[in-house]
């Protein structure tokens, strides 16, 4: 049996309900009920005090945030989005080089934007060790893929929407070609497997 833990007046009205409507005119019941009227009077005083404190804080110089705090927060938000998970590109005794999944994903979307008739949607990137066999590669149902053996083994799963009337196989092949060229040129590794799923048509 659940126990109700909501403070109530003798008339059965909850304090929370009266507090929630303190800025509105009293209801018919509240106009007649002494307990509700007393509660409203006290809560109105509390509301006024709360508002006053809030206003005071707004104009209190000691409550001002440090200069640049908003920019600092926004910098971190942007960085957080960009970081995501990271993919190791190169590892040596004198240092490692990683790339964020988001950076790769942006590059892929940018390549897709160059192909008329497709809009990129979700892009997921997986990494598999260079030793992984090509025979192990996974092609999801309804997708097509291609692979190269250069660099870390990326598995790119890109979902797109296509314009009605385009020749889908040809357009998808052009998209794959664009991605396969963009990644080596801009990152310096092979594009690996590029799985493309046409999941929808969009209105032109």
């Amino acid at each position: 049996m659940a126990l109700e833990d909501i403070p109530r007046l003798g008339c059965g009205r909850s304090i929370d309900r009266i507090w929630g409507t303190i800025d509105r005119p009293p209801t018919a019941h509240e106009e007649q009920c002494d307990q509700c009227q007393t509660a409203r009077t006290r809560l109105r005083r509390l509301s006024k005090a709360t508002r006053s404190l809030r206003e005071s804080d707004l104009h209190n110089p000691t409550m001002e945030p440090r200069p640049g705090i908003k920019n600092a927060i926004m910098d971190v938000v942007r960085a957080k989005v960009r970081r995501g998970s990271r993919i190791l590109l190169r590892s040596a005794d004198n240092g490692t080089t990683e790339i964020s999944e988001q950076a790769l994903s942006s590059l892929i979307r940018s390549a897709a934007a160059a192909i008329p008739g497709v809009h990129s949607r979700r892009c997921r990137i997986e990494i598999r060790s260079a030793a992984a066999s090509v025979a192990d590669e996974d092609h999801p149902t309804g997708t097509t893929g291609t692979s190269t053996n250069a660099g870390p083994r990326l598995i790119i799963n890109l979902r797109v929407a296509a314009a009605p009337g385009i020749v889908i196989p040809r357009t998808v092949e052009a998209l794959r070609h664009e991605i396969s060229n963009a990644i080596p040129a801009s990152v310096g590794i092979g594009a690996g497997t590029v799985n493309i799923t046409v999941e929808d048509l969009y209105d032109v």
Binding site: R66, G68, I69, A72, I73, D75, V76, A79, K80, R82, R83, R86, L89, R90, D93, N94, G95, T96, T97, E98, I99, S100, Q102, A103, S106, L107, S110, P184, A185, S186, V187, G188, I189
Partner: protein
């Protein structure tokens, strides 16, 4: 007093971070250093800064926007978070950064340790024209 202890007093992790920052930003293909969560906390105030630094350690870790530098036993390690220009090959840019930062650190008398680079963004520079 030995030369080694004199170096330890002068070359701080903050200086290494500053050198690494300048060297990185001067490397062709680097657009900027990217701030991280770790570098954000010190900007909140002294209390947060205190929590991040090793108390009483002059040769500890220094973190600023997009760079973390650590000095330990005469070896300087650096981690850089960068954004690169899409007109350049990011992996080559990162290798160049590592090489140049290593050289810069060696000029301080410290031994360059691992120079880790994380590429957080690849973007088109506003003056870049792709042919």
């Amino acid at each position: 007093m030995s030369d080694q202890s004199l170096q330890g007093a002068i070359i701080t992790s903050q200086l290494i971070a500053s050198i690494a920052t300048r060297t990185t930003l001067e490397t062709p293909g680097v657009l900027r250093l990217e701030p991280t969560n770790q570098s954000f906390l010190p900007r909140l105030g002294p209390a947060a800064l205190q929590n991040l630094r090793h108390p009483g350690s002059q040769n500890g870790t220094y973190q600023h926007d997009g760079v973390t530098a650590t000095i330990s036993d005469g070896t300087a390690r650096v981690h850089l978070y960068i954004a690169t220009d899409i007109a350049y090959t990011a992996l080559h840019v990162a290798e160049k950064v590592q090489q140049r930062v290593r050289e810069s650190i060696s000029h301080t008398g410290l031994t360059p340790g691992a120079i880790d680079v994380t590429i957080l963004a690849i973007e088109r520079h506003h003056r870049t024209t792709i042919m």
